[in-house]
Symmetry: C2
Subunit: 177 residues, 2 copies
DNA sequence: TCATATATGTCAACGTGGCTGACCTGAAAC
DNA sequence: GTTTCAGGTCAGCCACGTTGACATATATGA
């Protein structure tokens, strides 16, 4: 069953600890998103809408295909969500100047408001966990999670992400595929 | 907008860092579960089946309601999943001796095999991330995630969980509700 | 200039896995 | 022994993923 050999691994790689880590991730994620779901349901929105709002807010003028690569869903799924958000006046979609096939997405004031309202809960929740755990633990948290991210996306969370943060409209890890 | 005041918070609690943490969690979880989904779809099972298999394997003779509290889904949702697993001969359900209403669940050899096959991928993935990050980072990872878990469940991941691990059939955080 | 290949986005139909509501069954209480 | 209740099931619905077929826009080449 490809079991880990206890004698050849540090303590934290034991079967039991790995299982515990998996459960921790499961429970933490479950509760983290549940935080937002309450607010979302009051707005008549789902989790999928929130994810779209979030990333559009974070990357103004993002195109649909860039958003697709971030979310890793099919364009058909995303299309429905964007249709909803557009119908409710939460996002704007303007065709690109260079390539008029592309629609560039942005939040309306209303969309911004909803996004903040929902995300604020999660941010507060994470902030509390960060504060309780301390700066050093936060570093470890980020280190391990970064290691779990597969492939290209990991680069976005490399050490030099400060530079990225100062260019808010860009999507370095996405535009370059 | 209830923004965090930069002057009164340590650096790692800045808006930008919290957003990055949220995204990290999103991407890491997304890729972590995607790992298992490939294997699952080959077995004709879904994510819900895996979660049930996992926790039944980890807590033999668990009752349906205990499982419900772990997974936080409705009994109707779980019932369908258990029906599938039972029909495919992956779990056994025997009525309790003391209270014959309760069904105690356990994995069959076939169920154990499938569970291992799926979970093994995830365990390997987490082990790699742990190894890359180092023991200290793993401690921080667990600390922050534990802080994200709401309410009662957090206790299960307290310092004395070693004691729990030596009593594999028990569910201290669950039975006591 | 028009035929076509490619990229992008949409429409229709379907599957998984959540949910609520109504109901059944065994155990316990009066 | 009827009632009450916890544990579990059946039926139907919804959110949000999927695939397949199609529409539109740009780029390419005769």
């Amino acid at each position: 069953m490809a079991d880990l050999k206890p004698g050849f691994n540090p303590l934290f790689l034991r079967e039991e600890d790995l299982r515990e880590g998996m459960e921790l991730l499961f429970f933490a994620y479950r509760d983290f998103v549940a935080e937002a779901d309450q607010v979302l349901s009051r707005c008549g929105l789902g989790r999928a809408h929130h994810r779209a709002l979030y990333f559009i807010g974070r990357h103004p003028d993002i195109t649909v295909s860039e958003l697709l690569r971030l979310l890793r869903v099919t364009k058909q799924s995303l299309s429905r969500v964007l249709g909803d958000l557009s119908a409710q006046g939460m996002i704007t979609q303007k065709p690109g100047l260079r390539d008029r096939r592309r629609r560039h997405l942005a939040l309306t004031p209303k969309g911004t408001e909803i996004e903040h309202e929902v995300t604020e809960r999660q941010r507060a929740s994470l902030a509390r966990a960060y504060r309780q755990a301390g700066a050093e633990a936060v570093g470890g948290f980020r280190k391990v999670l970064t290691g779990l991210i597969g492939g290209d996306e990991r680069k976005r969370f490399a050490a030099d992400r400060i530079a990225e943060a100062s260019r808010p409209g860009r999507l370095p890890g996405v535009a370059g595929r």
